[in-house]
């Protein structure tokens, strides 16, 4: 347990030191939301039905973009090796990265929700919607973090990572967009979509935690 808190603290500190990269992820998602609002504003008078899709594609791209660099620094500095031969287990190493990525992404997502609330004049900061965002983010961040362990040894991984992860995330995207839409009153019933999100989040986290030790081996 002490080693888990130590690793999590280390990853949060590392994410903070490396905040330039996270800020660019935030800038990217801001630009994406703005671009969508310009593009769709011309096409349709009411942008609200498009909002769930706008938000979640932005979240997913920001998440994949951010996850891509989560092990990069450790691999470049050689500290990934130092962690692997230390008494800390691979699962702990993974949970540290997962926590740091999750917290950083939730901050980015909340900032986008505030931005979208202002731009689209829709109340987005409801407890239900925040719940959807948290569960959805847990679901995708565990898979993208696992896939990011490609580390330094696969060429062209920055392009490969979205190509690998986005098809796997189709169920999550469908569930999250529908749940968000229902939560905004665009359609009836969040419950089934919340269930889908929850199933996906549990499944992906379990798969990632179980498979990471194999992925981390050399």
């Amino acid at each position: 347990m002490t080693s888990l808190t130590a690793v999590v603290a280390k990853d949060l500190r590392l994410a903070w030191r490396n905040r330039a990269a996270w800020l660019s992820a935030m800038a990217f998602s801001t630009i994406a939301v703005l671009t969508y609002s310009f593009a769709f504003d011309l096409a349709t008078g009411d942008v609200r039905p498009l909002l769930p899709g706008v938000l979640w594609t932005t979240f997913l791209f920001a998440g994949v973009f951010a996850a891509g660099q989560s092990f990069q620094e450790e691999v470049d500095d050689g500290t990934f090796d130092a962690l692997l031969f230390s008494p800390v287990g691979a699962t702990t190493i993974f949970l540290g990265k997962l926590t740091a990525n999750l917290i950083a992404l939730l901050i980015i997502e909340c900032s986008q929700l505030v931005l979208a609330t202002i731009l689209f004049d829709v109340g987005l900061l409801t407890p239900e919607l925040l719940g959807i965002v948290v569960i959805g983010t847990v679901g995708y961040v565990s898979l993208t973090t696992l896939l990011a362990t490609m580390g330094g040894h696969v060429r062209g991984r920055s392009v490969l990572l979205p190509v690998l992860s986005l098809p796997l995330l189709v169920p999550l995207l469908i569930g999250a967009v529908r749940a968000t839409g229902a939560s905004l009153g665009l359609e009836a019933g969040t419950a089934p979509w919340m269930l889908l999100l929850l199933v996906f989040a549990i499944w992906s986290t379990l798969a990632a935690v179980l498979l990471f030790p194999i992925a981390a081996e050399q």
Binding site: H153, L164, P167, A207, I214, A215
Partner: protein
């Protein structure tokens, strides 16, 4: 058990090509000549004899990929990686075949080549997942164990994702004709069923043969690069 399997595997060159050829020929003749013309859908319905077996056997090929990936992670024998890749290539090929024949059938029947129906979407997602698998595996060398392990993990997650994809897109929307074959009393006439059964045999034999060919090709690539590494190693030492 394993000696029996090896015995059967020894027959691959003498059994698979003729069986595939004869079954393919029989299926084509059956589909074009023997099977009756469907009253409502017309001639284009004959694509079904290719489409349905491709779609079903594609799942078998991807299951072989997942099984071989599990075996690779368990046994750490690179030969399982060759089988996983070989089966994935054939699975992606069959998947493309199912999508293409479906689109050709869809235009006259549905009025569009493509529609975001549950089954179509799920098949397209599978196509994307395993194309990505092949892409990721091919950027590393045949003997790169780390890349092989990484893509094996990806292949397993991909297969484990299939039920969730199916569930999600089914909730999302459904337009595809409901399965009419695998029911207690199939709703197809007997001639059509017979030709469809031939189609299954033909595509299954073709898939098995292609998987064997592709796996042995990958295996040959592995052995070549092992040989090259061994020569380099000796020259340096």
């Amino acid at each position: 058990m394993s000696t029996l399997l090896l015995r059967v595997y020894d027959w691959r060159w003498s059994v698979l090509p003729p069986v595939t050829g004869i079954a393919m020929m029989a299926m084509i003749v059956g589909a074009l000549v023997a099977a009756p013309r469907e009253i409502i859908e017309g001639e284009v319905q004959r694509l079904m004899y290719l489409h349905v077996p491709s779609a079903v056997i594609m799942y078998l090929a991807f299951s072989v990929t997942a099984f071989a990936s599990v075996m690779f992670l368990w046994k750490r024998d690179i030969r399982w990686d060759a089988l996983a890749r070989g089966a994935a290539v054939v699975g992606v090929f069959l998947c493309g075949m199912a999508l293409a024949t479906g689109a050709i059938w869809g235009k006259p029947i549905w009025g569009v080549y493509w529609t975001w129906d549950a089954r179509l979407t799920a098949t397209l997602v599978l196509f994307l997942i395993y194309s990505a698998y092949l892409l990721a595996r091919s950027v590393a060398g045949p003997l790169d164990e780390q890349a092989a392990r990484y893509t094996a993990i990806f292949a397993i997650i991909g297969v484990a994702d299939i039920p969730i994809i199916q569930m999600s897109v089914r909730w999302w929307r459904t337009l595809h004709p409901q399965p009419i074959v695998f029911q207690p009393t199939p709703a197809l006439p007997t001639e059509m069923l017979a030709v469809l059964a031939l189609g299954f045999i033909a595509i299954a034999a073709l898939a098995a043969w292609l998987i064997v060919l592709q796996t042995e090709t990958e295996r040959a690539a592995q052995r070549t690069s092992a040989l090259r590494a061994e020569i380099d190693h000796r020259e340096i030492a």
